[in-house]
Symmetry: C2
Subunit: 415 residues, 2 copies
């Protein structure tokens, strides 16, 4: 029985009784409607009815998550089991039945999907094609984080200007470069032109140094056919990675691409924030990330310590831990991509709080481009910060005989 | 200049200064990063920088939308203009740049995307293939709402049982039947088997009566290839419509399907609620609906008056008005599908509040199946209620010589 059950954990908040609401959800999301119907037989219920498996009461709150009348709201973590028979393994069915419908239920003052516990049948999904091992093999970086950077400014650079910046970043020693997630194929920098301008720089750098920098191209399109054309352009030019804006291509775009992809897929989750930013609403990354991992994300952007965006450090740490935890096998772990406002100063805390691993990509944008000693010093500072973290030395101590780190500390660490 | 500008209206809420935050958003979402960069030249800024076009101050609030420290939060409706040159017309780029990134900005205590004002270049998107006129032509219903019903229970019926219910609904006089949005192709009712069981019933009904009932099949899949297989199964069997769970297939699935579709696409927006239910967060339907209309939704489920779900009537009315308003032409208007807890009793108010139009589909699930006189009486009650609405007669008066409506009023109207 347990192998055939999809278990979803929800944090429910309501002015009423959470257990009763859970029972209503289980009924609405399987066999019920607002009036008793002739077809809702015992046999149908037995085959397809969702069931409340547990209700764990949490402390009440006086502040409703959705604006709601009242002054006391009850909360519980509720696990509902959905028979696999009733849902199947299609992600569209899973999300429609166990998530989409639940968000619409009347009487909730808050609802957050905390996690999915999926039966083995979901292992049919492809998962990452490259993941951690593949990302390391493609970059030939071992024993430390893969260090990456982002082309800035995000928008507005002509392809020739991008190529200049790529050359500088290659020479600065990065392992990975990406288009800003906002850059796909606009009029001033069509993807084909950008590839034509940039790829020779990457090829030349490989010829000169033996090091092939991974470049993730902005291949996203809401049109899967167009996205595949973008993908093919990259592949034909010898590229090995693409940036995909997962929420902007959707499950359909992702599934279509992954089936045909030869690229390492670097996922940016823009749009995700509105689903998780209110702690009483939406979804935890643990749940969200699992779906996209099953669909094939290889590298997953998850912010970082002291990100420039809204996300608190604890949320980032939970996301990292979730990425590092297998769903069905070690291979379904994506490479966590730690970015946003990173310049090396967060290396010690990142290392300490994410299980003392270096299996991650560490992305510096302004932290590399804006280093007072230039981009090479920006990359060096990040490498030095990670050396300090792994050796258990404070950054201040390590900076005493590491000039790039010292400069970074002075410019970025002075708050 | 105006033709080349994408204008997005946001409702911002912040403990700080909304105008300053708007300026930061415009910078972050185009050319900026957290430190001044060499590449961010005047030329780049001129070509691609987003600009704050207006700031309309709203009343302060003491209750933050995102949990946020403080006791006074300032609000404003802000219009930001993004050069078309910087974004292009790809929906993935539009959503990444103008929506996804904005949700992540630090310092917001609330953010809601109110509307998109898109330049004519976006008219390249296909829009509805059938829309209002096509839906009427396929059902041959004019001068009144298209009346539809949903197979219930949502999950668990074997194909043969579904066929029995379809026969009953056809004989009851409905114009349209749909799979519940939760039903796609599960093990107990694979789509192919369901088609084989149900389509002969629809064909026979047409032969007997001359009336071809439109049936919308649950063709959604997160895999566009699978969805096209589902689509083709329906087309080969002579079917004319599909239910698509738009959030569960994503922009990619929708775009892929619309390019190839021969079916009238009936959209269910499950999952949408979490984006709009908190009035200070997420998105208005006016914005959301436009995107999906451009991508090709023909029939758009938008709840109804006194829905069984959380949505207030005012929100439904705004959604209806938005659907009824052209983006670029009359042809991009989808057929509004009024459903959820509908049994006819809401016809008068619906008609009054949505512009006295009958250009809509009116969906009864339990209101038809659960009518005390049987499904035929359920359909009759709905037709009678709409006759009353159009004639300006109250339901109670109209029910005096319309028995089905009288029974419906007694069973469903007694609260």
């Amino acid at each position: 029985m347990s192998e055939d059950m999809i278990r979803v954990t929800y944090r429910l908040e309501t002015p009423g009784d959470p257990a009763a609401l859970a029972a209503k959800i289980a009924s609405d999301q399987s066999t019920g409607t607002f009036t008793v119907l002739p077809g809702e037989t015992a046999e149908v219920k037995a085959r397809c009815a969702a069931r409340v498996l547990s209700v764990t009461t949490l402390a009440d709150t006086e502040t409703p998550s959705f604006p709601t009348e009242g002054n006391r709201f009850h909360r519980a973590d509720v696990v509902i089991g959905y028979p696999l028979e009733a849902v199947g393994t299609d992600i569209a069915a899973l999300m429609t039945i166990t998530v989409g419908g639940v968000y619409s239920v009347r009487g909730l003052s808050g609802v957050r999907v905390m996690d999915f516990d999926l039966p083995p049948a979901f292992a049919r999904h492809p998962g990452p094609q490259f993941g951690i091992d593949g990302s390391r093999a493609l970059t030939n970086v071992y024993g430390r984080p893969i260090i990456g950077s982002i082309i800035k400014p995000a928008l507005g650079l002509a392809p020739a200007d991008t190529a200049v910046m790529v050359k500088e970043l290659c020479e600065a020693g990065v392992d990975f470069i990406k288009d800003d997630e906002k850059l796909m194929s606009p009029g001033y920098s069509p993807l084909a032109d950008r590839i034509n301008a940039v790829m020779p720089v990457i090829d030349a750098h490989e010829q000169n140094t033996g090091k092939r920098v991974m470049y993730a191209w902005g291949i996203s399109s809401a049109d899967p056919d167009q996205m595949m054309e973008n993908h093919d352009l990259v592949v034909r030019a010898g590229g090995n990675a693409g940036v995909i804006n997962i929420n902007s291509i959707g499950y359909g775009g992702m599934t279509f691409l992954r089936k045909r992809s030869q690229l390492c897929l670097h996922a940016h989750r823009n749009g995700w924030d509105i689903l998780t930013r209110h702690t009483g609403l939406g979804m935890e990354f643990a749940a969200y990330g699992k779906i996209w991992r099953l669909l094939g994300v290889d590298q997953f952007q998850i912010n970082g310590i002291a990100a420039k965006y809204w996300e608190p450090d604890d949320s980032f740490v939970r996301s990292f831990q979730s990425c590092a935890t297998p769903i069905f096998s070690l291979k379904d772990r994506p490479l966590p991509v730690v970015g946003s406002g990173q310049w090396g100063g967060q290396a010690v805390e990142t290392y300490a709080r994410t299980g003392q691993t270096t299996d991650l990509m560490y992305l510096g944008g302004g932290g590399i481009h804006g280093h007072p000693g230039g981009a090479a010093s920006g990359v060096a500072a990040i490498r030095q910060a990670w050396e300090a973290a792994v050796q258990g030395v404070s950054l201040v101590d390590y900076a005493k005989d590491h000039k790039a780190l010292a400069q970074a500390l002075q410019k970025f660490g002075g708050k």
